[in-house]
Symmetry: C2
Subunit: 159 residues, 2 copies
DNA sequence: TATTGTTATACTCTATAACTATA
DNA sequence: TATAGTTATAGAGTATAACAATA
């Protein structure tokens, strides 16, 4: 023990993080491709799916700007995505009586049903994978994912 | 303890997985947007960056088809991405002497340097986040990410 | 004046299909 | 015939800038 503990910890940190970077980037790329492929079966793109989820999460007729912000997108992009979802009858725009510039966006019944169906198929897949872990490991993973999510969201907002 | 342990474990599994699904999908979407924003500073898109990394990982002048497969893309898509990288002098196509239909794709010096620079900035960001964890937690996370990566890759390949 | 949302425009990614050159 | 790679084409997502309607 001739070295202080902090130095050996720092060395481990760099090594761990280098391995994590490799795994994280390949993981997020592969997960994105897999999700896109699964969504093809429902004739949805990833941004369309994320938008359906955001509308559901925000609830109660969110505005286009709220929606764009939640999806980390500019409003012109969201206009196009919502247009295509509306054409398919999955979402609706409704006038906002208290501000005539603004609209409420909400899921139709068909949109709700499609979202539930996709979520169920995703849950099944995740259960197959994470069923291999012990309850303690699952809890640890959940905690770590939430830590990482929060740190990414705060980076996204503070720019 | 009137219920057998397996049932209570299964109930926990569904709950954990539902929370994981929520966190995972928001995480991968947010991470993708953050990466895209960071890559803008280097005037690269995400597929271009993933392609540079794949060329580096595959090494020794991989072919267009190997590259397309590694990035989970059809070769026509890879043609466009490599075209744009080549225009910027980040990659090179070289004739393959043993098969004149095929080409070797490799990083130029500029491509190598840019890749190193981006990777260094990513490492710094990850160290800031994961430095909060203990070495044991980092090891656990690494193991879990690798488990998840393998399961996703095998799903991607078996379709 | 400022804000909400859309339209116009340009570029990249993506897949499919048709094609050329080579094996 | 089969394979490696490109070209042609079409659609979706993305950002920026200009715009209309409303606040």
């Amino acid at each position: 023990m001739s070295q202080p503990a902090t130095i050996s910890t720092d060395l481990t940190l760099s090594e761990d993080v280098a391995a994590m970077q490799q795994a994280l980037e390949r993981l997020s790329w592969a997960a994105r491709r897999l999700l896109a492929r699964q969504l093809e079966g429902f004739d949805l793109t990833t941004p369309q799916y994320m938008t359906l989820r955001a509308i559901h999460r925000l609830g109660a007729g969110c505005s286009m700007s709220t929606l764009a912000q939640a999806a980390h997108q500019v409003s012109a992009t969201m206009t196009g995505i919502v247009d295509r979802l509306a054409e398919r009858g999955l979402v609706q725009r409704q006038p906002n009586p208290s501000d005539r510039r603004s609209h409420h966006v909400l899921l139709t019944g068909a949109g709700e049903r499609l979202l539930l169906q996709i979520e169920a198929s995703q849950l099944e897949r995740l259960e197959r994978i994470f069923g291999k872990l012990s309850p303690e490991e699952r809890q640890a993973m959940l905690r770590l994912m939430q830590l990482y999510l929060e740190s990414i969201l705060s980076e996204l907002e503070h720019e």
